[in-house]
Symmetry: D2
């Protein structure tokens, strides 16, 4: 059985990553690709690394025919996504990779994204796509909202600890180190090789990063009360990878046990032995997330380090995993490739 | 049907790459791993990116039991390889990734590797592992010698041209740009990040690189007379990738046609439209080789640019492809993963 | 004695590099900076690495007052440069870093740059700024045209050989490996970190790169007859550096002697012992050019490898060196900083 | 007036950086270089980027003649340093770059470095080399102990806050991102380009990094009571640079004012406007340290980000600055070069 797949916004990095993953998926077949600004071009001219694949030509969204499409991945920028998805057939299964449907509350959306939501009904309908925690809801969802890549990394490190109440909830610090591709293929001065390579910096410091909206929503839901974390991302000179270092107050062994227990049966979430910490290069190109916990010379402090590939487990890999769940396919289908190292 | 695989020298980069590729191979199963210096360790402690796989513990070669092994990949350093392979069961199918069995002539071996060959009978028996050109021999071989990664890149650019006599044979210049992993996981000052990143240099200049032995043997065989090319490799700050720029004298269109014709049916060899040139980043992590040809403002000159991933198509991917042929499996099995970009 | 300096186009990389070099120049003082698109901003907001310097605010060219300016560096894009310089005071000393005045012949300019020159008189007046070969003319020039960075690297490798006739003039192949900053701070998709890092590729293959205009002009002038070289640049993932590999037909020892003799008294041009080849990382951030020569196993072939920092010796360092000559200052003033390694 | 300089351990990165800085120092002249393992070699064979300098040949320490030497930089590994310095003339001025004399307390030394100190008298005599805070003592010292590069970055961010008591002293978290050259030119698997580039990881997590000994000693001294911070360094794929992100509890504006006031007259310490954060690439190759402060959406939280070049301000630049102070030279002599960007 083969499912027909459409990808909207196929000319960006998450679009390309979807095509890469689906190219070896046993039961998915790419049937339609859109990229408004590059409509008419072949995918191999936009992404020559996919040259060997026999992919449909890029079209505008309007030109696509969705009859026969089993699931649609929407890899558009936020704001554009809600407009486009509103106009799609109402019974089409959709995995959205943008930020548009991550926040359920219209007020929260407007606060973090500075514009009123234009599809509030869809916003209510959407299921938050952190697969391991919303599997049942995703299986029944029509519209799944892929999480922020930073938000995914942070939540894998923190959710079980908040749920199990093994850490102080008002004193969680999350320091992220993020690869460049998280910013997408957008053409900006600060993303040039000359500006990024051989240096690094904090950005969106001071609690201003939009993924905080997701942390607030999700961690508060888990805790049953408001939880606000302190979160600072840093840009490092690597293309793929997020490394989340979480500083918490709690018993390190209990922290480790909480995570180990929570992820015991998860294929993609690997908790390292106590005291070991992971590296982004060991998950690159794959759907795995490695998580380590260690104590500190100061009693009652624990450090959690979680790594994942922002384009894979952080967005497109997660999206395929969600699509598998939505379509009743084996959840790991197409996602078992090992990381590429070195 | 599942074949049992052994990998000798599994703690090096080509060993890790074999494990990565085989981990999603539909009919291969890793049954034994050796790494003398790291015997007793788990593969995941040596290569944490393979942590999710259930792999055998590393052993010494002597500790391994080869009964039940269908094929053995030998990813040892040259010189060590010939000693180890001599002592293996005589009916064991072997793909060797070292330089030890690439040259058929004992004199040529001794000239380039500065020591007499210690297994001259095996040397004679071995089949040169450039799959697309030795498919039939490989299918019947017991011992296949993987090619040098530089030699593979250069030969994909040049063999058809030599065979079709569309270029001057005494004036071929090959300028290579090579990623760092080609030097393996050897711990040398000149391979440190601080020494490699943000800079580049020629090495083995002046016709001293050992892969010239392979070029001499193979191109002369194809031409039916002695062919000597001029060859200079350069180290560039990237982990994977070889880009071969070949400067030849001949009609550019004929050069392009020669390559297009030769590789028309090859799954892994992609000839670009005339005038386009490829990039290493478009084959990274994959078994593909992209080849471009362009002319020059000076008539009668052509430039061929070929790219491949030295760890994949240049060594471990080629090795799996050869093993597939030797075992009668679909030649592309386990090798259809798309390149990882960015 | 302190000379007042103006820099036009100060918001680009060569502008920043000029400011860096001049910041420790014993007799230069930056008195005016222009950057039309960023006029009104401080230099430290555009280039925070210059934050410690007390620099003039960026203005438009029109807002600048050139009275009292001793020399003006023009770091504008080609085409813009000829327009701006035409409108500057006729007695102002100028070092232009663009391509606009490198070619003396209006026809050649139009051929390579695809538009007719708009200041043909200035074009005639301009002196080609390869300091070591035009020192006397530069000392008396009002307008000096900085060379292309690729053209500089190639000429340092080749000019003495052409002059001394130690190589075949109709068979010179120049393979360049170029850092990313050579493309300037222009915001283009192919210059993004995600597109450049960890990969490399040829560009402007087939004899189409504009610096060929300079090679044609200069090498033909040296030879006294038309010389056309074959030239292919490659983009490598490093910010600074050009490595020129020249393949020539001639006696390697004679080639080495020719270069050694020519550069014997040059402070910035270092010829390595015969058989050694240089690395870009050993000239990074400096005004030095290292040149090596080796022979080949094929008699009568020589390979020359020259390296320089495209932003320093390849453009802004060269420009300061030329300004020193024009103003009668010690030629090496402000330029003796050692390379930054690692 | 020119001072004669000796550098012991000149074949490491801090040795090379000393030579680079001193090469343009107006009153320092390198008179002797040692490197036991490379004795007999020229400095240009060990560091070709210094090829243009006329430097003494490398010798063993024993071969050096210290009469006439005005100051000796000791860039040896810890443990070796205390042995070598013990045997040097008792009146020789020394700037030590190792860890051997940073901790005044023999017990603390033994705790962090796991061996008893072999020169406890010298340990007592040594002055801690954080120039801006020990200027007077350094001016009169014979032996100055260069600080750890991480310790320098962290202290620049934290000392004034501890002194001014504007932050909670028992809840300081310091998350460092460190370039690779901080590990020196040591030949280790985890420092290979293939292992480092394109990835990042925490190391010495859990309060085990040796620089904590310095933080404990210095911050407790400033506070007048025991202060223990939580400190986790991370290795990022860049050669130079430390970025320290400090998470503190206190009023962000007061934090900013405390730092601004403390560094108002410091040439090399630049405090950015409130709310801005710095980047390592803006101090690379220079002796500058940029420091930024921002608040958080959670009241009473501040984040301080400090960046410096570990080889310059973090070790060799600091060492030259200290030598200037010790010799009564202008403190900034030889150190005013601008950062190299890009």
């Amino acid at each position: 059985m083969s499912f027909k797949i459409a990808i909207l916004g196929a000319s960006g990095y998450t679009g390309a990553e979807l095509a890469r993953l689906i190219s070896t998926h046993p039961s998915f077949e790419i049937a339609a690709l859109s990229a408004n600004s590059k409509a008419g071009q072949s995918m191999s001219s936009v992404f020559p690394h996919l040259r060997h694949l026999d992919l449909p030509t890029l079209k505008t969204v309007k030109e696509l025919n969705f009859s026969g499409i089993d699931i649609c991945f929407c890899a558009l920028p936020h704001k554009a996504s809600q407009q486009v998805i509103s106009a799609l057939p109402g019974n089409l299964k959709i995995v959205d990779l943008s930020a548009d449907f991550r926040l359920n509350d219209p007020g929260a959306y407007e606060k973090w994204y500075e514009n009123p939501h234009q599809a509030p009904d869809l916003q209510k309908e959407a299921v938050y796509g952190l697969t391991e925690f919303y599997r049942r809801e995703i299986a029944e969802a029509r519209l799944v909202a892929g999480t922020g890549c930073n938000a995914a990394a942070g939540q894998y490190a923190l959710r079980p600890l908040v749920k199990d109440e093994v850490v102080e909830l008002d004193d969680i610090i999350l320091d992220l180190k993020c690869g460049v591709s998280g910013a997408g293929r957008s053409i900006k001065e600060n993303l040039l090789h000359s500006e990024v390579s051989e240096g690094y910096n904090a950005y969106a410091a001071g609690g201003t990063h939009r993924h905080l909206g997701e942390f607030d929503q999700e961690l508060s839901k888990v805790a049953g009360k408001e939880v606000k974390i302190q979160f600072t991302p840093h840009l490092v000179p690597a293309n793929r990878g997020i490394l989340a270092t979480a500083y918490v107050k709690g018993n390190p062994r209990e922290v480790h046990e909480s995570l180990s227990r929570a992820y015991e049966k998860e294929v993609f979430l690997e908790v390292l032995p106590f005291g070991e910490t992971p590296a982004t290069r060991h998950v690159r190109g794959s759907n795995y997330c490695h998580i380590g916990v260690c104590g500190d010379r100061i009693p009652g402090r624990a450090t959690i380090v979680a790594v994942l590939d922002n384009l894979a487990k952080g967005s497109s890999g997660q999206a395929v995993q969600n699509a598998n769940v939505m379509l009743g396919v084996e959840e790991t289908a197409g996602l078992m490739m090992a990381p590429v190292f070195p």
